[in-house]
Symmetry: C2
Subunit: 653 residues, 2 copies
């Protein structure tokens, strides 16, 4: 009995811990001088303007889908759907509100006290997103389970989370890169003003973009994985082990929250001088606690260690994929150095090196995922795969914390620059930010790995729901579906890349217009109109996400209805495989180009403004939509089409 209430209790504790962080570690810190406050206020305003406009669309979308669910499926699923989408929106709102409240505070701490205090604020700010995602996520899962008891109905919750993730990740991804490219191309390249210069009309939109894409988008992505993994484990576990199959993932996730709280406490208790090792330590400590707990729970519920083995596999695969991402995207390793070296012979060789490095980077993660699938399936069949996903995601609070920490320190640096603070402040925030790049790479690896396992367990849930005992590759319907599904990530990536291009063009035109109509901006005597740039990025990104978003929902419905559940099953499998591959390829290629450019800027291969640097800037620009828009959006695609198929399974049979 207690174990059924535990998730809700753990979730409430997570939310209380989050509020405690806000009250004790964020709000009491000063936001610095008036200029800093004003800039931070602009960013906050822009981010909130985006999120409120986005939510208007989301709510419209959710209402329409909810009505359709009520008509074609049932009312309970509809209630779960609405609940899932509302909680995901709430998590995104809180997380982004606090991340934009933390940036100037981080700058101020860097200015007045030094690195350890700045790190503390950035970490506390990130942890709000971490505990919002897991707290609200688990609260909802626990509650709908207490109310409805039927695991199948609960998948509506996962669908709700996916709907929000679609807007947040795809829309946010387009937003952030449109603003970034617009700011860079006109500001840095055409007018020659530095990064984060307050004269650049797109500079606020650019900083808003970091929050919109890397905080809210990433958070919604992991909210979806988190809920999807737990729910599909519940469905599969119930079928095999009855109530115990449901309790294990719920209790494990609760313990994951406690372990993350403990890790955060330990982190904040002492002054951290080395951000990198301190952040990694939180991952290790929370992972270790979950591991130990999994052995106890496994023996309690199943009388053996099998479930624990699956959890171990999940956590190991997640962490190792994260490390491999770093190997392929950090300038400490050969791949990035090679890209930097190839930049000496021009942009073309830089691009070829980046593309081939990204393709090569798929090998390790895919082997890890395959081993994970084999071992966890061998141990507990399909339930094992779901448990591996739950295991990987049990420490989501911690991984989201260290991931959301990145954009906060990035913003903090931007505010330091725009406020004209001393170089030493920027140095501190740059150090925090560079660690943020590493943790972001690990976070992306986690996001992809968990999306893969979650989508796979959702896929299995789908086949159970439509009563497919087999889904044979010797059936032409399955093969045809697999080809179509395999193609979807290519189509989706093409669409999202084009969307970035179009939104960026609108931004470029706006920035040029402002410089042309108000020549005083560049001289620093006229104020640029930040709001109009924020507005353009917001509108363009939300408009541009409609087609890819609609595709992700309509294609599985169409294929399932017209060609039947086997073809749809093949489609899900095909899109899972190429989706994971393309996501890894694009994220790592983008990360590698980015760091190759930074490596050159640090003085290698000719340094800043050398021909190699110009070539590396081309790669970095290509990599932007790769790593921040198309790549992460594929995580959403593979989960969303699967969850749509699960929820609407009844329509296909």
């Amino acid at each position: 009995m207690f174990s059924e209430f535990l998730p809700v209790i753990a979730a409430i504790i997570a939310v209380l811990f989050m509020l405690f962080q806000i009250k004790s570690n964020i709000l009491p810190v000063s936001e610095g001088n008036e200029r800093m406050k004003a800039i931070s206020g602009n960013i906050k305003e822009g981010a909130m303007a985006f999120i409120s406009r986005e939510y208007k669309y989301v709510i419209l979308f959710v209402v329409i889908v909810a009505i359709l669910i009520a008509v074609f499926i049932d009312i309970n699923t509809m209630i779960c759907y609405i609940f899932g989408s509302l909680l995901s929106m709430l998590a995104g709102y809180v997380g982004m509100r606090i991340s934009t409240a933390s940036n100037a505070r981080c700058t101020n701490e860097a200015m007045s006290k030094g690195l350890p205090d700045a790190l503390k604020v950035a970490f506390a700010g990130g942890s709000v997103m971490g505990f919002a995602v897991t707290g609200f996520g688990l609260f909802g899962v626990g509650l709908v389970y207490l109310i409805f008891r039927d695991p199948a109905t609960l998948m509506g919750y996962s669908f709700g989370a996916s709907s929000v993730a679609l807007f947040a990740r795809v829309g946010g991804g387009i937003y952030t890169k449109a603003a970034d490219v617009g700011a860079d191309l006109v500001g840095k390249v055409e007018e020659g003003i530095p990064e984060d210069d307050p004269r650049n009309p797109a500079v606020i939109a650019d900083n808003v973009g970091d929050n919109v894409g890397d905080v809210a988008g990433m958070g919604a992505d992991l909210f979806e994985s988190y809920a999807g993994a737990i729910l599909s484990a519940m469905v599969l576990g119930f079928a095999l082990f009855g109530d115990n199959g449901i309790k294990f993932p719920l209790v494990l996730s609760s313990i994951g929250i406690f372990s993350s709280i403990l890790a955060a406490f330990i982190f904040l208790r002492k002054r951290q001088n080395s951000p990198q090792s301190a952040l990694m330590f939180t991952i290790y400590i929370s992972g270790a606690i979950v591991l130990i707990a999994s052995f106890i729970l496994s023996s309690m519920y199943f009388g053996n260690m099998k479930a624990a083995i699956c959890v171990v596999v999940g956590i190991l695969v997640g962490i190792l994929i994260g490390f491999l991402s770093e190997v392929f995207t950090s300038e400490k390793f050969n791949q990035v150095k090679r890209i930097a070296e190839e930049s000496q012979t021009g942009a073309a060789t830089n691009i070829i090196a980046g593309l081939s490095s990204g393709m090569l980077s798929t090998v390790g993660p895919i082997i890890l995922i395959s081993i994970g699938i084999l071992v966890s399936y061998h141990t507990m069949q399909m339930y094992g795969i779901a448990l591996a996903a739950v295991g990987m995601l049990s420490i989501t609070a911690t991984t989201v914390t260290v991931d959301a920490y990145g954009p906060i320190s990035d913003n903090a640096g931007g505010i330091a620059e725009m406020s004209g603070l001393d170089e030493s402040v920027r140095e501190i925030t740059d150090e925090l930010d560079s660690v943020g790049n590493t943790t972001a790479a690990i976070g992306k690896g986690f996001a992809i790995g968990s999306a893969a396992l979650t989508a796979l367990s959702l896929f299995v849930t789908y086949t159970e729901t439509v009563n497919l005992d087999t889904l044979s590759l010797l059936d032409s319907k399955v093969v045809a579906g697999m080809f179509i599904g395999g193609m979807l990530p290519f189509l989706f990536s093409a669409l999202t890349m084009n969307s970035v291009g179009k939104a960026a063009t609108e931004m470029i035109n706006e920035v040029r217009r402002q410089f042309r109509e108000k020549p005083g901006i560049l001289e620093g005597i006229e104020h640029p109109d930040y709001a109009s740039c924020v507005d353009i990025s917001t509108k363009a990104s939300l408009k541009e996400m409609i087609i890819p978003g609609a595709l992700a929902i309509i294609v599985p419905l169409f294929v399932g209805k017209v060609f039947g559940p086997e073809t749809l099953g093949g489609l899900l499998a095909g899109s899972l495989v190429t989706g994971v591959l393309m996501a890894i390829f694009m994220s790592n290629a983008g990360g590698a180009w980015d760091n190759a450019k930074k490596f050159i800027e640090s003085g290698e291969e000719g340094g800043k403004n050398s021909p190699a640097h110009h070539a590396a800037v081309v790669g970095d620009t290509v990599g932007d939509p790769f790593k921040d828009t198309s790549g992460p959006s594929l995580n959403i695609l593979i989960k969303l089409i699967t969850v749509v198929s699960v929820v609407c399974a009844g329509l296909f049979i």
Copy 2:
């Protein structure tokens, strides 16, 4: 009885027709003045140097594999294997010998008589490759069938063809791009001398590359598809329909040869002023004859129209994929224009536009292939899919002819340039060449489409051979295999792209060395050492293909042996899906970049030497290994790993 001998008879007629073309339409034509003869001689020498060195490696490889087959499988399979590899080598040798003999003759006809006569020589030269591929290919298939009768044993023949294709396509692809990049980067970019300038030491290697990659590589690729499709249709047809299931594909392929001869006759009979429509006409006429024949044969052998429907599907899918390739790679359509337009904002936007256009271009072909699979399977189960492949490949003689025509006219232009002939000659060869680009795009579409269907029917043959009644996506072994298989094309592409980079670097160093040590070369008073460049490209390309080539053979053997036939089945399916997708993506992106650059050079978007042009050159350089090395090599990968699995099936069960 007659129908069993028909393939051998048709094949002999094809070879006779080929000899007739050589005797009557190629050799009698003059090779022009001494300078032209000398240049053509250099190209011929370089091409033959490459092919003889390549064949040394191939023979070593074939001997080793043959011994392994004899030890682990059986002697008959070994004999078929050796036979398949020898005939593919012979086809490549003859085709390349004649294509290099046709280039200067084409130039001379352009100079002395005009476009129609030059077109005739180029067409005749291309047709030699076309009839060599189909004549030798069908001869071998027909003969080994007459001797061994057991379709399963015959798969050794297909493996032999695949082994040669691996070297020819992958090695040739690396060769051609290493030479191209080396020639362009040092010659055009660093020293500012024009394309095809005789002072460039790499210029002969570059022209050799066109023959090595686009003639011999493409020919071996289609030889493999051609043999693989017919043989897998025989295996699957025998299982379902006994002898009639074997006879239908054999007779249909024989008729395909006759129809191609007829089409070539009609083409050569009159003076063609419009190369484009004349070449397309040969495709239509030979396709139409095969279509009609398929209906008669279908009713003869099966008493219904089902087999004909599959053939129609195959031919339609092939031609439509070809057209879609053109839509995405020709400057007449929007995609290429958009890439050219995006070049105005620099190399990064050019690259993003090309990548997204290439990804988008996968949609149509994949839908066509899926429809083809569904319809042909629905009509005649797995045999239907194999028949669709046979249908598509029945007009291989014609498609290879119009494809190999391209590099001949390209070479002809190079010879005109190097011999300092009048501008008007170059104009004629340029017109021929630009048509060649279109036919090459269609040919590439055909090559990919047929590789997909051939690999799919080989995959089915594999499952039959290892006695798998089902291969379920609910089996974790299958799913894990699918992930690994899906990753292989990414790994293969990464490796081949890197290989081009390494081989090109060696070439660049050599060209720079020659310019440095012999300053007289650039002044035109010293002779560059063409042979050393040819030698470097040859050595580097053969060395660089070892690892990707070995992978394609070792990975399926390892997975099959260690993880069993189900995992290997999943691997084959996964690599088939991503292999086809990546091949289409890379080929079309590369083609689009190429033509976007040419479009700008024709005076659009600022014309030659404008900033847009410089950006487009970057895209073109990235596209080179995409479209000429990695993309086409994937055709080989997906067929080779499947045929290895079929032949070695006995080892896994």
